[in-house]
């Protein structure tokens, strides 16, 4: 491999695996595509390992359109973890639902490629392309269960609203190009210093935020989330909730901290309001949900609010805290969705709260696992959720945003209600009707095991990873 391509090694590994899968999909056997899942997983794990070896290196490729720095590496790792866990969860899940196909694995890899591209993009055009690669793959994946009305509805809504938001995003890029004459992030930063009050630039920046807000699902661009999360296949939901959110935050953080640093007081004020609205709305509506996937959808909105607290706080503590939060959120959320995905009642997925009544008595291990993930979402020590919240809220207090931290902590308290309600159902209610039972799946259990390891690794020994996260944001804050 030529030296110029080394910074792109993780990307190339994922892309090559996707290409390989397209070929393998044509070869026999026609029935049963489980082996494709294994190959895809191997590709993602290789990319993960490749990314880790690139820690500490810097470089650019394709005329500066793509770059590699510790920030990109950290997010590549987060995204690869998300993709690998989702692939593990998918294998038996697809077979159970009779939807196993080569396209699924190819699309997951392409979406992953798009996410990683967003983390490594150094140009607005690349961000846009990566965003589209990721989004188009996810639109299709959301509609994978063709026979189900909710799946089709989910895909359609995601696509329409995604396209709508992308429109704003592209328009924003165009206006910025008009104002500065460039789409490269570093050159925009250099140019915008002089024309700070240029309305073109300001409108362009605002429209960019709309696009990002849609991808990370902050209020008021969050409306699609519950419908899409509920309708999409659960494995895809997990990918949307973790990987695409991480990718959105990757590009957002880069644009905010390195490109529009001059406007920090302005966007910090805006995001302060957005953060409060996002977490409060997410948590309050989650209380009223009885469908677990929908509840976790609102919960994921709330968590975006917490992460925005870290963005508002800024600095190595705040931005580093967000990266840590993303990693811990990935483990926790994939774990929670994974536990739901493994459970079925009759031939249906068990997604209603009532399905979880008395689970602990019959399947103590699975109930305990899900309970631990929920406790991590609550932010209970010694799980990762506690460390994540601690760092992010702590950063807000350091930066003087006392009230923001207070609101965030109050929100966490409210959130405990709906997470713990599931635990109460599992441990303190009697089951009725057909018993809920876990589907036999080694890969699924392995995924839960890895996620649980992550939850406790980050919960019990958070400091090393936090150090890495803070080192990762250093290039942005220069």
């Amino acid at each position: 491999m030529s030296a110029a391509l080394v910074p792109l090694a993780p990307l190339l590994l994922v892309a090559a695996t996707a290409g390989l899968l397209i070929v393998l999909d044509l070869l026999p056997p026609r029935e049963g595509k489980g082996h494709l899942g294994v190959v895809a997983l191997a590709g993602v794990v290789a990319a993960l390992a490749g990314a880790l070896t690139l820690w500490g290196r810097e470089g650019r490729a394709f005329g500066g359109m793509l770059l590699l720095d510790n920030f990109a590496v950290f997010l590549d790792v987060v995204i690869c973890y998300a993709a690998a866990l989702v692939l593990l969860l998918s294998m038996d899940y697809l077979r159970r639902n009779g939807m196993e196909s080569g396209e699924y694995y190819i699309l997951v890899l392409l979406a992953t490629l798009g996410m990683m591209l967003m983390a490594q993009a150094a140009d607005l055009i690349v961000i846009f392309l990566a965003l589209e690669l990721m989004s188009l793959s996810l639109y299709v994946l959301a509609g994978l269960f063709r026979g189900r009305l909710t799946s089709a509805e989910s895909s359609m809504k995601y696509f329409l609203l995604g396209a709508f938001a992308t429109g704003f995003f592209v328009y924003g890029i165009a206006l910025i190009y008009g104002a500065t004459g460039t789409t490269a992030l570093d050159r925009i930063a250099a140019a915008s210093g002089g024309l700070q009050r240029d309305p073109l630039l300001l409108i362009g920046f605002g429209l960019l935020l709309v696009g990002f807000g849609f991808k990370i699902s902050s209020v008021p661009f969050h409306m699609w989330v519950p419908d899409v999360y509920e309708g999409a296949p659960t494995s895809v939901t997990a990918l949307i909730a973790t990987g695409s959110k991480a990718a959105g935050f990757a590009a957002l953080l880069r644009v905010l901290f390195s490109t529009f640093k001059v406007a920090q007081p302005d966007w910090a004020l805006l995001l302060w309001v957005v953060a409060v609205l996002t977490m409060t709305l997410g948590n309050v509506i989650a209380i009223a949900q009885s469908n677990l996937k929908r509840m976790l959808a609102y919960s994921s909105i709330a968590h975006v609010g917490y992460m925005l607290v870290g963005v508002v706080a800024g600095g190595a503590l705040g931005a580093g805290g967000v990266l840590f939060y993303l990693l811990m959120y990935t483990f926790t959320t994939v774990g929670a969705f994974g536990a739901i995905l493994l459970l079925e009642r009759g031939r249906q997925e068990a997604v209603e709260l009532d399905d979880y009544a008395g689970l602990a008595a019959r399947h103590p291990l699975l109930a305990l696992t899900l309970a631990l993930f929920l406790l991590s979402l609550v932010g209970m020590p010694p799980t990762a959720g506690f460390a994540g919240k601690f760092y992010v809220f702590g950063a807000a207090i350091r930066s003087g945003y006392i009230w923001l931290a207070v609101i965030a902590v109050l929100n966490s308290a409210v959130a405990a209600y709906y997470y713990l309600r599931v635990v109460v159902y599992m441990y303190m209610r009697e089951a009725e009707g057909v018993p809920t039972r876990p589907a036999p799946s080694f890969a699924g259990r392995l995924a839960l095991g890895v996620a649980l390891w992550g939850v406790f690794q980050l919960g019990l020994m958070p400091a090393p990873v936090l150090d890495l996260a803070q080192a990762a944001v250093a290039p942005l804050l220069r």
Binding site: L161, F164, L207, P220, F221, L270, V284, I287, A288
Partner: protein, 625 residues
């Protein structure tokens, strides 16, 4: 020696873990793990004892523990003659009782759980004895308390057992609170918790400070060793299985208080006042508990009060500075009291669970081994020569007299008389006379299996010979005291004023024999009326039957007011005020959630509109800046 020391706690811990993790599958084979692990621990203790006998000692860290700023502490072990003796007693008697439990607990649904707890107890007790600093001591002090709680409440389905477990734990907590404060005060005053450093620096403490620290530590000792006024938990602890009563509530754990005072005797001596307190609390408890023992009708409760009383003797011993004598009594008491409890267990086993002395009688011909061994134990407790109890108790009495405390000596002598009375009474009521149990029970009376009687035999042998072997006084003290002399320097034998040692000896023999004779006159020379035994005959008897109304007093003074205050807080403050706020907020939020939900219409048009409005607001915001 360091490896061997490490092995002593390792085996019981391993046994605990194996039975705890795999008990479900091991089930009724649990003793194949628990008994050998304790046996190996005993062998390791023997090896350590022998090297200590050659004059070696060991101090070292088993592993580092806490390092926070200036505060550093490790799990330090200290092996000297004192801890070597304690280790032998704990693992040796522990081993015998493990073996006995194989028969006694046979068929119990919680068989594996029982051995898990029992091994955990041996581990904790061994660590308590091995501890080389006060913090480790405190941790395992609490750990043995936990084991005690778990084992008293072992049959948790029975309310009485569960309640007794709680009572033991809570009463102990009262004393341990003082203990904890004492340890903290030590740290503040001396900046170290290591035994060697603490005892080396004790001279720098003012006597007042030493008194406060020593009395705080003694509060813990009072709780654990069931001395006045914290003695109430021990009789109730008899709700646990009998092997537990024998091991934890007679032979080992309850002696931890004696061990604590003996271990920190330098500190108590610095205070002086504290030693007086220890001596008098011990003396009073010895007499007080012996009187209650006279009236009890439950065989295990007689033995429980006897334990409290005997612990009082030991405290009186350390209180007058006769540390070696007190520890010697601790050892012999471990033998004969374990023997008595196991014998009682054998009786209970044979009678199908009956513990009431009024429904026993005439067991001697049916349970020969139990009768003989119980008799040896009873004679040992009564202090009849030449059994072990005679030598050890007489040492304490003589020391009290020679320390210039004739009143304390008189108290203890009276106690010795009463001891002979109550234990003879218990023996006569159980084994002699006409049978008083129902026909049904009488038909099933049987001697216990070999696995239970063998430990009885060994303990009886120990009770019989231990005194003669190591307890005969000479000009240079007993052999036992010489062994302990590195820890407790031998007192110079000075010419004593007043009664000579021989006179004292004769007096205490007379007291014991008189007690036995009195019991024989009342209970054995003519048939007993079972009805009359448990019914209060006069106010004094009623007072003793009701155990001086101490439980009722505590109930009135502490328990009921506390329950009332707690009830008030729970109803008025918590339910009314706090819950009111919480529920109010909750209702508000849920109501809001329902309303907000309506915004989520499901129409893509509405969603897009929200996005558009959001975009307008954001752009307007940036333009307005």
């Amino acid at each position: 020696m360091s490896t061997t020391v490490w092995l002593i706690p390792f085996f019981p811990l391993l046994g605990t873990l194996l039975n705890a993790l795999f008990g479900r599958w091991i089930g009724r084979h649990a003793h194949w793990i628990a008994v050998p692990s304790n046996g190996l621990s005993f062998l390791a203790s023997c090896a350590v004892f022998l090297s200590v006998g050659r004059g070696e000692t060991f101090t070292g860290d088993l592993f580092p523990w806490i390092q926070a700023g200036a505060f550093k502490t490790a799990v330090t072990a200290l092996v000297d003659p004192l801890s070597a003796v304690m280790l032998l007693v704990v693992t040796g008697v522990g081993f015998l009782i493990h073996v006995y439990s194989v028969g006694y607990m046979h068929g119990d649904p919680g068989y594996a759980r029982f051995f898990t707890y029992l091994n955990l107890f041996v581990f904790s007790m061994v660590m308590l004895v091995l501890a080389g600093n006060f913090l480790v001591l405190y941790v395992f002090w609490e750990a043995v308390g936990l084991c005690s709680y778990l084992l008293i409440g072992f049959w948790y389905q029975r309310k009485a057992a569960a309640d007794a477990g709680k009572k033991a734990f809570i009463v102990n907590r009262v004393g341990d609170f003082g203990f904890g404060l004492g340890v903290m005060y030590l740290w503040v005053a001396l900046g170290t918790l290591d035994y060697s450093e603490v005892f080396a620096k004790v001279g720098t403490l003012s006597p007042e400070t030493a008194t406060v620290i020593a009395l705080l530590l003694f509060a813990g000792a009072c709780g654990k060793s069931a001395q006045l006024p914290l003695h109430t938990w021990l009789p109730d602890a008899m709700e646990g299985p009998t092997p537990v009563s024998a091991l934890i509530h007679a032979a080992t754990m309850v002696t931890a208080g004696i061990y604590l005072v003996a271990r920190s005797h330098v500190l108590f001596e610095r205070s002086g006042v504290a030693l007086d307190v220890v001596a008098w609390v011990g003396g009073l408890t010895a007499l007080f508990a012996a009187t209650i023992g006279l009236a009890q009708t439950d065989i295990k409760r007689v033995l429980a009060y006897s334990t409290i009383s005997q612990l009082g003797y030991m405290f009186a011993g350390v209180g007058v500075g006769a540390y070696a004598a007190a520890i010697f009594h601790l050892v012999t008491h471990a033998f004969f009291k374990a023997l008595l409890f196991l014998g009682a267990g054998s009786v209970i086993h044979g009678l199908g669970g009956e513990q009431d002395l009024r429904k026993m009688g005439g067991l001697a011909p049916r349970m020969v081994t139990t009768t003989v061994t119980f008799f040896v134990g009873a004679a040992g407790l009564a202090g009849l020569p030449p059994l072990a109890g005679f030598f050890s108790k007489d040492e304490i009495l003589a020391s009290a007299y020679h320390a210039g405390r004739p009143w304390l000596w008189a108290l203890l002598l009276l106690g010795a008389f009463l001891t002979a009375v109550y234990i003879s009474r218990a023996f006569i009521l159980a084994f002699r006379g006409a049978p008083r149990m129902s026909q049904e029970v009488a038909r099933h009376i049987h001697e216990s299996p070999r696995v239970m009687t063998a430990p009885l035999g060994i303990l009886a042998l120990l009770t019989a010979v231990a005194g003669v072997a190591i307890g005969i006084p000479s000009a240079h003290g007993t052999a036992f005291a010489r062994f302990l002399s590195p820890v407790f320097p031998l007192a110079e034998e000075a010419g004593h004023a007043g009664l000579s040692a021989l006179t004292l000896l004769v007096l205490s023999v007379i007291a014991a024999v008189a007690g036995v004779l009195l019991a024989w006159l009342i209970y054995d020379s003519r048939p007993v009326n079972a009805e009359a035994i448990g019914r209060p005959r006069n106010w004094l008897h009623a007072l003793l039957l009701r155990k001086y109304y101490v439980d009722e007093l505590y109930d009135f003074l502490f328990v009921r007011p506390l329950v009332r205050v707690a009830g008030f807080c729970a109803r008025a403050f918590d339910l009314g005020f706090v819950d009111g706020i919480v529920n109010g907020v909750g209702r508000l939020v849920v109501g809001w959630a329902g309303a907000m939900r309506l915004v989520q219409t499901g129409y893509v048009m509405n969603y897009a509109l929200a996005t558009l409005l959001g975009a307008v607001v954001i752009v307007a915001f940036f333009l307005s800046r």
